[in-house]
């Protein structure tokens, strides 16, 4: 049903997006917790830096990544010399680019769920003998789970669709960095590529729709598990 080329782009897209979510999640949880709970001088600046990828042109983000993580960049050079790790023009690099682009979306979703947690519950846990770390693990983290899940879904969807940052940082290499949107772009550039572009577009559409449906089902189940108002 799908050609080898299409399967390759589909598989690569899923791989890049999944890895991107995995990269971003730990940092996003910490950043969201700091933004929701902590007060410190320079918080506005911190908030601004985290949201920067939303405001910058994706091409610019890709270019900055290339400057930093490129083989001659300060971090990229060190990674290559020390570990033989190359990010530019690789699928790992593609995941980094999509992680950076989707990071603010993930942080926002998680932050909202932390802000919605009644601080009184953590105080109640404290009177019952739970230390601050204990409270974080047994009360706060489970209660922010719906936000973590929806943050992951949003970030995953955004990663599937990311174009500008990816093509600038890791280029458009079939089998390595050519995700679905990049494959569509390549097909459209080709004078005979209309049919291929249409098939890829349909594939993207099905992928996006099923992702959204699955995420809604998961979110509902999570809310019910946490005793929320899923069916009220």
């Amino acid at each position: 049903m799908l050609t080898e080329f299409e399967l390759q782009a589909l598989w690569l897209s899923l791989k890049v997006a999944l890895r991107s979510v995995a990269f971003a999640l730990p940092f996003a949880v910490v950043a969201a917790y700091i933004l929701a709970r902590k007060r410190f001088p320079g918080k506005v600046l911190f908030d601004g830096v985290i949201h920067l990828p939303l405001a910058l042109p994706p091409v610019l983000v890709g270019y900055l990544l290339l400057l930093t993580f490129g083989i001659r960049g300060p971090l990229g050079g060190w990674l290559y010399d020390a570990f033989g790790l190359r990010l530019a023009f690789t699928s790992v690099g593609a995941s980094i680019a999509t992680a950076v682009m989707s990071f603010p979306l993930m942080v926002r979703a998680i932050r909202l769920s932390i802000e919605a947690i009644d601080l009184g519950l953590e105080r109640a846990a404290a009177t019952l003998g739970a230390s601050p770390l204990d409270r974080l693990i047994t009360i706060t983290l489970p209660l922010m789970l719906p936000g973590v899940l929806s943050g992951c879904v949003v970030a995953f969807a955004a990663s599937l669709g990311e174009f500008g940052a990816v093509i600038t940082f890791v280029s458009n290499i079939p089998g390595e960095t050519q995700t679905l949107p990049l494959a569509i772009y390549a097909a459209v550039q080709n004078p005979d590529g209309d049919a291929a572009a249409a098939r890829l577009a349909a594939l993207s559409l099905v992928l996006a729709l099923s992702g959204l449906i699955i995420s809604e089902v998961i979110a509902r189940r999570a809310r019910r598990m946490l005793g929320g108002a899923a069916d009220e």
């Binding site: 009644d118 519950l121 105080r123 109640a124 009177t127 230390s131 489970p142």
Partner: protein, 377 residues
Amino acid sequence: MTMIDLDIRKRLGDFALDVSFSIPGHGVTALFGRSGAGKTSVIAAIAGLLRPDEGHIRVAGRTLFDARVGADVPIHRRRVGYVFQDGRLFPHLSVRDNLLYGYRRSPLRNRRITMEEVVALLGVAPLLERRPRDLSGGEKQRVAIGRALLAQPEVLLMDEPFASLDAPRKREILPYLERLRDELRLPIVYVSHAIEEVVRLANQVVVLDAGRVAATGTPEQLGERLDLRPLLGEFESGAIIDAQVTAFDSQFELSTLAFEGGVLRVPGRAGDLGALVRVRVRARDVSLALEKPAAISVQNIFAGAVEEVFEDSGAYAELKLRVSGTRFLSRVTRESVSRLGLVLGAQVYLLVKSVSLDHETVSTVPGRANGGLRHGD
């Protein structure tokens, strides 16, 4: 031994809290006062949820806070059970896991109160596998009380646990609290602005007004203090009389209660024969007459003398009356005081309708432990 020794000061914006009291031994202490008097702030300070600016807090000989030496035990090491006004059950845990949350964190050597005891005491066995969202308000509060008890506290603090409940739910939980008081010898500090609850449960009362202690004493002592009347806006004044059940008339369903100065007849079965009960006779239910009325439906008529007259600015006056060794309060119009010539020392007859003494005003006497669970001897 002094159970709670507290002396704290705290500024909260325009509000200044300056409270000092000590509570001896076990039993229920009510913190009573209008909303905004600082009741919740006091128990929040005991629990460590509010940090005083100055002063000290000691519970069962242990210093939890002392500003002078910089002592401030973290909340989770205070061993203070806290029942919040809104319950605060953990929504992601079952009732069983809510109940066991504190128990699992308590050191083995402190475990005196067991799950089985709490489940039986509070009647929560059918709820154990449910989630908090599937519980009624009264059920939630019972679970919250059980959860606090199972954390093996040295003192139980309750912040108006009935404020969010309607009257039938209150009636459902009050007996559980009476059992807590009598069966677990655990000191309880109870915040309330409902005098009915305070009288029913409390051994001693601390009256707070605008962040300060206005009076302390037993419910009986405070109930007789007419000078506290303007302060306790919501205070439905009345006399508190401890009596013994001496007879039950099954034909007319009336109990006879003996007290120092006479007998009271009250509807229904007030308790087993010989049981000690506490009766609250509301001031507005006591009428006064200069001659002993004959042929009248009122069952309870006592001869007494006027001890004190307190006239407020409105239409009413309140009188303290002595019937042998017992004091009653009566609320009548100022016009009646003037017409009947009710001055200090005047001899009068007190008329108390039996129907005014119902299950809301007759309860078992606090502090009569009768075996069962023991805590912290």
